[in-house]
Amino acid sequence: MSGIVCPIRGGAASRSTIDKAIAIAQETGLPVYFLYVLDLGFLMHTMHVQTGTISRELRELGEFILLTAQDRAAREGVQAETVLREGEIVREAIAALCREIDADYVIMGRPVEARDRNVFTPEMLERLTRDLEAEMNATVVFAGEA
């Protein structure tokens, strides 16, 4: 098994990442695996602990975000699968999926805007890229790059 792993969060920032994954899939004929990582850590800042209901709702949201990406890929004639994982460590979720499908490519978005609004700092992203390329022989591509 092989393919392209494309972690997304939804929103405007993910559009270029999805487009890049679709473009590479069209070039290589590989399937795309859109990945969404569900993280409930922010709830510690509120008083509410109805994690059952909230995680159900956020899971629905994550699935919908993945579906919009899959829909876009389908319109471009690209085969795409969706994967939703739970956990706070996005890096580990990406690495695990790469291992599972023996990924050839990982398409990532570049950190933009304020550092604390990104999943990865530039340093973390660099480390992840090194690990993925070294351990899994996967090529990491950043959206927006030629």
């Binding site: 969060r9 922010f42 709830l43 109805q50 209901t53 319109r75």
Partner: protein, 577 residues
């Protein structure tokens, strides 16, 4: 001891029923106690103790001794209304003089010699009322420590580095540590003991919130929020501006009857999905929604935790809130809709031109918009309607809202027999613990006189001008609520407002409490940390790739605060001043 699954539902129902019974009994007990007060054949000396602000002082040890001697003749403790009653035996008739001593931590010890005519009246066997006694506050090291701990707790809550409940528990624990360990060093470090601390816990608030949590847990599982949002999507027919208005109304109405956080927890994911489907910026729908939730929540007693606190403290009923605040909320809401049209109008231009929704996404949205438990929804509707009737009419027969909420929750549990494990999870125990710890922390700063000092300061600022006082309370609460969590802020302000209400002519209409309600709730729109609903909305939006930064919220939320508080202030002026 393990309870079998078969018996767990009955155990929970039993506990809820017992709590209901206890609340009803405690209400009856109060009434009975009132009737019995002052009865008996002994010689009774009745008095009132006030502080410098004219507020009753509870928990004062009052002792009667023979003048110049240490023989204790009678002792009593003042009640919440500052009253005490000393009961003497027949030997009081032989006394030549009587000395009344009053002692309470954080006040100077006071001794009063009973005037001869009052002593004569007491000796004649009548129940005698002595002159009011004023206690002079005393600032001790405990004052500064309690104030420092309270501020620390507010900072911990505002910073969000630890859970709110943990922050409140840290505050309460530190207060007890000072109270119990401090006196080993000096008596002046004593704040209050555990029994006294528990008297500051408002159990009406705790049980009302608990009862409503159970009802909300049933309602939220039915899919009503998702259905309503999907209906908004269908009704708007791709018109972004119309969709925004309908979603604001849904979020607002839901927030008037359920808590804002639950409303936004359930509305935010489906709203983002609708926005993504229509190629709209999700924030153009989410921001107006959360603002509407913060504004409209104050229409009813049960709409916000701050209203529950205010209603319980000031004796403001469900219908009082509806009559006195709902028109103002409607006016503020109209202003908020217009404001959001100006801010987001461009982003909400008709999305029809942005491309048709794919059948796959539409199917998914339709599935999300289905009512999942129609039977439960119907039953919850019936029970909810009955609860509304009791909330409105209950005041006529002394039915407190907490009992109505508990009875409604019990009826609903009996009727639908839900999975009891899920119901136990649905009762947000951390929130209840948060309120208990918060009441203790606020009680500590009341006990040491900080709140009284604050009331004196504000009293000097506004004098006897009710209009000025109303505007100061509304705007100060609104501005402070943008930086301080509004629940602890409201809890701390309540005794201050009570003090101002007692001293400013015309304030007996409770207008200052309504101003506090307006400021504390609408102030939540001023910043991202101003309300829990904002934080939840931002947290979910960020996980969907649409972050709401502090700056973004401030830029759009603060003008909304000004618009809505100004409009609500105009309403308060028309209604009360």
């Amino acid at each position: 001891m393990r309870v079998s699954a078969r018996w767990r539902p009955r155990l929970l129902l039993g506990l809820v029923a017992l709590a209901t019974l206890l609340l009803v009994r405690s209400g009856a007990g109060w009434a009975q106690g009132e009737e019995q007060g002052g009865a008996g054949n002994r010689h009774l000396l009745i008095g009132h103790v006030y502080d410098g602000k004219g507020q009753p002082v509870a928990g004062v040890d009052v002792t009667a001794r023979t003048a110049g001697e240490s023989e204790l003749l009678a002792e009593a403790e003042t009640q919440d209304d500052g009253r005490f009653a000393l009961s003497f035996g027949p030997d009081v008739a032989s006394l030549a003089a009587l000395q009344i001593q009053l002692q309470r931590p954080h006040f100077q010890d006071t001794s009063v010699r009973l005037p001869s005519e009052t002593l004569a009246a007491l000796q004649s066997g009548d129940a005698t009322v002595m002159a009011d006694v004023e206690l002079v506050p005393r600032i001790t090291p405990a004052f500064w420590l309690a104030a420092a701990i309270f501020v620390l707790m507010l900072i911990l809550i505002a910073v969000g580095s630890i859970h709110n409940t943990l922050a409140a528990l840290v505050g309460a624990a530190l207060i007890f540590a000072v109270s119990y360990l401090g006196p080993l060093v000096t008596e002046d470090l004593f704040i209050f003991d555990f029994a006294r601390a528990l008297r500051y816990v408002d159990w009406n608030v705790i049980f009302l919130i608990m009862g409503m949590m159970i009802v909300i847990a049933v309602v939220e599982r039915t899919g009503i929020f998702q259905w309503a949002a999907f209906m908004a999507y269908k009704l708007s027919r791709g018109k972004g501006w119309l969709l925004m208005i309908i979603l604001m109304i849904i979020a607002g109405v839901a927030s008037a009857f359920l808590d804002n956080v639950t409303t936004m927890l359930l509305m935010t994911p489906i709203t983002i999905q609708i926005a993504l489907s229509l190629n709209l910026n999700p924030l153009a729908l989410l921001m107006p929604e959360v603002m509407a939730s913060n504004v409209v929540g104050i229409s009813t007693l049960i709409g916000t935790p701050t209203n529950i606190l205010i209603g319980s403290f000031a004796g403001i009923s469900f219908s009082d809130f509806v009559v006195n605040l709902t028109p103002g909320v409607v006016i503020a809401m109209v202003g908020l809709v217009l404001y959001n049209q100006v801010v987001y109008g461009e982003e909400l231009q008709s999305s029809a031109a942005k491309g048709a929704l794919s059948p796959m996404l539409l199917e998914r949205l339709e599935k999300r918009g289905e009512i999942k438990q129609p039977g439960h929804l119907r039953k919850a509707g019936v029970v909810g309607a009955a609860m509304l009737v009791l909330f409105v009419l209950g005041e006529n027969f002394h039915l407190v809202p907490a009992v109505t909420a508990l009875m409604g929750a019990t009826a609903l549990l009996m009727w639908i027999r839900p999975d009891i494990e899920e119901m136990i999870e649905a009762v947000d125990w951390t929130t209840l613990v948060f309120f208990i710890a918060l009441f203790i922390a606020v009680g500590a700063v009341r006990e040491v006189g900080l709140i009284s000092l604050l009331a004196t300061g504000i009293g000097r600022l506004v004098g006897e001008n009710l209009l000025l006082a109303t505007m100061v309370v509304a705007w100060l609460s609104a501005i402070l609520s943008t930086i301080v969590a509004n629940i602890p802020f409201t809890a701390a302000m309540l005794p201050v407002i009570a003090s101002l209400t007692a001293t400013i002519p015309g304030a007996e209409s409770k207008v200052l409490f309504y101003a506090l309600s307006v400021g504390a709730a609408m102030g939540g729109n001023g910043s991202l940390i101003g309300a829990s609903a904002n934080m939840v909305t931002a947290g979910i939006a960020e996980r969907a790739g649409s972050p709401i930064t502090y700056g973004y919220f401030l830029k759009r939320g603060f003008p909304a605060l000004i618009v809505t508080v100004a409009l609500a202030s105009i309403w308060l002026y028309i209604r009360f001043l």
